[in-house]
Symmetry: C2
Subunit: 236 residues, 2 copies
Amino acid sequence: MDSMGEQGAGQVKGETRAVVLAAVRLFTEAGYEATTMAEIAEATGMSRRSLFRRFRSKEDILFAEHDELFETVVRYMEASPETPVDTVVSAARLVFQGYVGAPEITVPRYRLVRAHPRLRDREVAMTARYQAAFSRHLARRTGEGRPSLEVEVVAAAVIAAHNHVLRGWLRDPAEGAVWERFGETMDRVHALAGSLLEGAEAGNEGAERVLVAVYPSGVERTELLRRVADAVAPPS
Amino acid sequence: MDSMGEQGAGQVKGETRAVVLAAVRLFTEAGYEATTMAEIAEATGMSRRSLFRRFRSKEDILFAEHDELFETVVRYMEASPETPVDTVVSAARLVFQGYVGAPEITVPRYRLVRAHPRLRDREVAMTARYQAAFSRHLARRTGEGRPSLEVEVVAAAVIAAHNHVLRGWLRDPAEGAVWERFGETMDRVHALAGSLLEGAEAGNEGAERVLVAVYPSGVERTELLRRVADAVAPPS
DNA sequence: CTGGTCTCTGGCACTTAGTGCCGATATTTG
DNA sequence: CAAATATCGGCACTAAGTGCCAGAGACCAG
């Protein structure tokens, strides 16, 4: 069989994608538990042993692309010149892109994940990894040691917002305007994040400010504007 | 061997606790993977088969008490007369109590969890279950169908805050003032939750609205106010 | 071309989690 | 007491995951 010079540090193989697609097909047709590693090996032309070598477990086949994406996202954050919050939001966008850009994997996987608690746990673990990575990034870039409460809440909020939009898309991938929804949603958490972390931004000279106003829906507009004017009055 | 009338619907057994403690001891002494179910069975005086019947898997032994706690928390929320946000915060307090009230299980488990990715995933999955339960509770009590973005962000924030304090305690269970820290932290997310969900509380007649504005810090106040005025103009 | 090392691969055997089945033994019910 | 029922323990079985080894191909030095 043909060989191809590869090895690198956790880089995609191309062959990986084929295996994942084959596995997804088998899982969907015959059921996750009913499909054995031997069958996957046969379907992909590799030996059972080599299959276990490349993917450490049956679950790992299903989430192989996800793992690669995670590596990519972490590297992206390390290299990003944006502010910490912007970087994390962009990273979330990258993850979202990873899903909607590969529906032939992520959509059937979503069905499998919903049906099998073990797989669900695994999916959840992935998002937890992202959340932890976001927290670490925010903490480092704002000069903290361990992530502070604010940082962890912001990371959790970004993840929650991401998942909120993602689940909507996964339930109905055909429906359009996903990116509009994503952008709009992220803008909202971005504002929240800004208000929670205000002043902690790295070199926050020309940083943006955020105003959050909560008001009864019946209030007069002029009254509202007066209150806003008070709120944006110079602090000290 | 002595028998004791039991069965109930997922109720504690008392015997359960003994098995968990024995398993924790074995895992700690010999390592998690090195300890087999047969050994746990022998150590607890039951047969391997019965062990698998009571706890569905090896992991489940370690998290058995956690599962029971989850059931308790869900029932608590269903019966709580408090406002949704208060209920969720109290529920988080219950979970926290579940940890600090059983350090002989949770502390060594923390060490095991940190060392074994599989167990870590399982722990993460538990917190995700709580977060989902919180979201559902908030959504139901505020008359929504699916949890809204705000609801999910609040649930995520409460969980993040809970875990923030919990991890601190797990790292150093001896250090006191845990409950003060917990209370103070929860107060802060409670305020955040209140502002995010304000107006959606049960019986939300005079609902409030939220305005979030993000603006460059250098912008003129008059210009900002003009933009805000535009933003709050009646929609359609 | 030849011998040596290094790596990837596949085959084989083995351990162990987890399950189905069945007979024995309480436990409850009439 | 007898019958129905649930629980328990033993046995056998499937399949995930691992260690070991031997063979095939790549690369290098002589």
